[in-house]
């Protein structure tokens, strides 16, 4: 009994430093955000309690538009990442010469400092001299130069594509690991029964990948929803707010205009959405694994 108790005390001692750190840097600021969202905190010395005013203000402004835009942006980015990533994983999973090298070659966008990859895209999107506009003109797809980041609709898709590019390596390697964990016997049994390669992929690989796909979509949903660097570097939320997502809007309000209270209210909304995603995720995974608690 006392041995058992000693072990538990020791475990808590081991956990304590990490726990205190995360409490100070994440949990406390989280509570502080919530409290701030009911105040008019700014650069002024005094801070007043304003009740729900910040939230009312949000919904009176164009924030509904920002919320919808954030969801559309996130939806397309995550879906395209999942499609390209799963496709890439299926290709890299094939037993062809050179695959080890190809796997390494998928990693750079993930491992290189994010901002630097974004600079490169910034140049490629350049209207006058950039690669994409230049190539499209050369092949006669468009007549004149397109400044992708200067128009709302193209800027929106340009930021989505860059976000996809940064997220694809992680999805690919994760899905590849999931594919390789599928027992080989299944394929051999199906093969013995005369099932073709495509049939095997459709009836064995894809169904068994569903849990990993759900998990990966969730992870990528969270990081995409929180995505800041890409939009900030490429467009700063412009032109005329067409790429302003909730995170960008929060940043502009809080850090750009020093309206901490109003910014905090926006951050609280983001947290609420993220929590809803997580709840849905746990619902889905517990159903998938038949009530298994993990």
């Amino acid at each position: 009994m006392s041995v058992q108790r000693n072990a538990i005390i020791f475990a808590w001692i081991l956990l304590l430093p990490a726990l205190l750190y995360v409490t100070a840097i994440v949990a406390y600021p989280l509570v502080d955000t919530f409290i701030l969202s009911f105040t008019d905190a700014s650069l002024k010395k005094t801070t007043n309690w304003v009740g729900w005013a910040n939230y009312e203000k949000i919904f009176n402004e164009t924030f509904a538009e920002v919320i919808i835009r954030t969801f559309v942006w996130t939806f397309f980015s995550v879906s395209i990442k999942m499609i390209i990533g799963t496709f890439g994983a299926a290709m890299l999973n094939a037993a062809v010469p050179g695959r080890a090298l190809f796997r390494v070659l998928t990693m750079p966008p993930w491992i290189v400092p994010m901002a630097i990859g974004i600079f490169m895209w910034g140049w490629m999107y350049n209207g006058q001299f950039g690669m994409i506009s230049g190539m499209l003109q050369r092949f006669g797809v468009v007549d004149g130069p397109i400044a992708f980041l200067a128009q709302g609709s193209t800027a929106f898709w340009a930021t989505v594509i860059t976000d996809v590019w940064i997220g694809v390596p992680m999805v690919t390697l994760y899905m590849l690991a999931a594919m390789q964990a599928i027992p080989q016997d299944l394929y051999e049994a199906a093969w013995t029964d005369g099932a073709g390669r495509f049939y095997r992929f459709r009836r064995i690989t894809l169904p068994l990948l569903v849990p990993s796909m759900v998990t990966m979509s969730m992870l990528s949903l969270i990081s995409t929803f929180n995505s800041f660097d890409i939009i900030w570097i490429l467009t700063r939320g412009g032109p005329s707010g067409e790429t302003t997502t909730m995170i960008i809007d929060t940043y502009k309000t809080a850090i750009g205009s020093n309206k901490y209270g109003e910014g905090a209210a926006r951050a609280v909304l983001i947290c609420i959405f993220l929590s809803i995603f997580c709840l849905c995720y746990f619902r889905v995974t517990s159903r998938l694994s038949g009530g298994d608690k993990r």
Binding site: A95, V104, G122, W123, M124, M131, W165, A181, Y187, A267
Partner: protein, 286 residues
Amino acid sequence: MREPPQLINRYKWYEILGIYAGIAVFLTFVLAPFVEGFLVSLKPLSQLFSSPYRFIPENGSFEAYYTMWDHVPGFARYIVNSFVISGAATVIVLILVVPAAYAFARFEFRGAGLLLGAFLAVNMFSGAVLLIPLFRLMRSLGVLNTYFAMIVPGVAFLIPSAIWLLRTYMMRIPRELDEAAFVDGASHFYTLRRVILPIAKPGIVVVAITTFIGAYAQQFIYALTFNSKTEYAPLPVGLFAYFGRQEVVWNELMAAAFVGIAPAMIVIFFLQRYLVSGLTAGAVKQ
């Protein structure tokens, strides 16, 4: 890895063609910005700003790689800053995570699952969500515009995946080892230090590498917000200042980018085997 039977993996010629075509399309998307960025760094500025667009540089040279040191004066400093920030973050993460991962891997106590979930949930709030209180916290501590302000918040968001990775690794170490030590009268702490740590070393190395790369790759928002002194700026923020100018000297910016990512590339090249397994550990429930 078990060698699969040969017949099942024998592809017809058109299948091989299809697979390579698929890989080519996929890798083109992934690598195009790097190829274009590299070619841009070789082009003279006059050629860069000329229509029609040409992909292959004419009279390309490495000149930008020399001139950038004059035009981006803080460049060497930015790289050093990046290393200082990532290095310090990695050390702090390891100090916090090694004991915590051991606790999660070995001890059964009430609330363990919940606590692990709470640690993983930290990742939900990465980015800008906590920026306001963190900014105020840093300001009231008087540490704005120091390395401290750029290191400390980032560490919190490197902890979750490090704990998860190392816990997965430590769970594979046979329990009999610590039990044997314990029966011989070793204390818990002695067991951790003398039995577990030496065996877990490869896992700790993988965690250190992935943490360092994560810290190196993601240092932007905190450095941008909590530090306004150019001399402390890490590489991404330092270059961002040049990126935002009216007339961007693109060939030098790209040259600087390539020198800046060289460390990461070298790490990938030498450690790719560990990286792939490290980054995707825990991907599949066992």
